[in-house]
Amino acid sequence: MLAVDGLGKAFDGLVANRDISFIVHHGEIIGLIGPNGAGKTTLFNCLAGFHTPTTGRIAFEGHDITGSTPEAAAALGIARTFQIVRVFQSMTALENVMVGAMLRNKRVAEARERAEDELAFVGLSHRADTPASDLTVSEQKRLEVARALATEPKLILLDEVMAGLNPTEVREASALVHRIHQRGIASIIVEHVMEGIMPIAHRMLVLDYGAKIADGTPAEIAENPAVIAAYLGE
């Protein structure tokens, strides 16, 4: 469904992504890992239309979406969360998700129903009427997931949704990703928390200094000497 070919992105001089190619199939869970500053978030930004790639092409469901806008990407079915949470502070949790739901259905009442479902899906129903600014950071991250899901995406990009979670919570988060997969939605997940991502990912991509240095199953990656040297250590 998603084909990235020779993607590169430079910020005046600084190359954040270079010559990255990979493919994502329907419903796949892809783990995206790499050291800090390797270019993971930048890659997300290119996929979701927030940055225009300097080189290369991105195709999604047969459309060339290279350099498209975030709005267009969202309309085509690419949803994302943000590494630094960006919830709508002045709205309640439910209203946050309603904004997402309105992409497919502008009617307020129907968007509300849809949003209630998604809140339940991520386990935030009890917080529906809480102002988003009063949620904990991890709840806000989940809220972002619900909001993204409400846009009925085909592909969801999750940027460090597990950061700062304790092991129990990490397992819950993994389970959530798995349920998203069961809905037939593909996901690409940026994580530093290996315990969270390794068990569920179908495939892992590893970036270092902006370039893809490995692509394979979690098991392969864990053994890959380049990945160990650049990232995993030990």
């Binding site: 800090n36 950061a163 979670l165 129990t168 995993l232």
Partner: protein, 234 residues
């Protein structure tokens, strides 16, 4: 060194910590663990003076500092390295460090600590003129800790130093914490990486919904079934 007695604190009248008491002896590493949103950061912020107390008191070296403003507490040797590092991104590495030593009037002493920082973390020395915001995540964390050291603290509080750091660098961070203790500085550590935190800690406290629910030596807590289940995912 530090005595925290039944403190309470809240955000917009919603209590975040309800009853926290801690004792730190000189030269100890004490870990504070607990799930997301249970009030660990709030505790550190309250001790640092960033959040107002609704009740309770804080004694530093036997003196009640509950009413002392945050910036004064730094002068008295109580320093917090906050969650998310909070560097001054557009200032240089060196300027950041110099600001860390803002309260130290002794220039020679400042210079000495600066040298320690540059010796311990050669990267920082190499990049002293680089803008702090352009460092990699791990480097930023090193810088944040060194900046905290610059004011010659007696007690250093670290809020999730391994947050968002690539696995390879996490080991390095924990080594550094032990190095800091070797300089005679007492450390209060908040970590999601409960396992490693308790490994290096002399003692630990477990916080749940704003209350201390358990305390003990690091090893005891690591061996405790409840803790293992709730926070270590075992």
């Amino acid at each position: 060194m530090l005595q925290v007695r039944n403190i309470q604190s809240s955000y917009r009248r919603v209590p975040a910590i309800r009853d926290i008491s801690l004792t730190l002896n000189r030269g100890e590493i004490v870990a504070l663990v607990g799930g997301n949103g249970n009030g660990k950061s709030t505790t550190l912020r309250a001790v640092a003076g960033l959040n107002a107390l609704d009740g309770g008191s804080i004694l530093l070296k036997g003196q009640d500092i509950s009413a002392v403003p945050a910036h004064e507490r730094v002068k008295r040797g109580l320093v917090l390295v906050p969650e998310g590092r909070r560097l001054f991104p557009r200032l240089t590495v060196e300027q950041n460090l110099m600001l860390g030593g803002f309260t130290t009037s002794d220039a020679a002493k400042r210079e000495q600590t600066l040298q320690f920082a540059y010796d311990t973390f050669t990267v920082l020395g190499e990049r002293r003129r680089q803008q702090a915001g352009t460092l990699s995540g791990g480097e930023q964390q090193m810088l944040a800790m060194c900046r905290g050291l610059m004011s010659q603290p007696d007690l250093l509080m670290l809020d999730e130093p391994s947050w968002g750091v690539a696995p390879k660098l996490v080991t390095r961070i924990f080594e550094t914490i032990q190095l800091i203790r070797q300089r005679g500085i007492t450390v209060l550590l908040v970590e999601q990486n409960v396992h490693r935190a308790l490994e290096i800690a002399d003692r630990g406290y477990v916080i749940q919904t704003g209350r201390v629910v358990m305390e003990g030596s690091g090893q005891d807590l690591l061996g405790n079934d409840e803790v293992r289940q709730a926070y270590l995912g075992m």
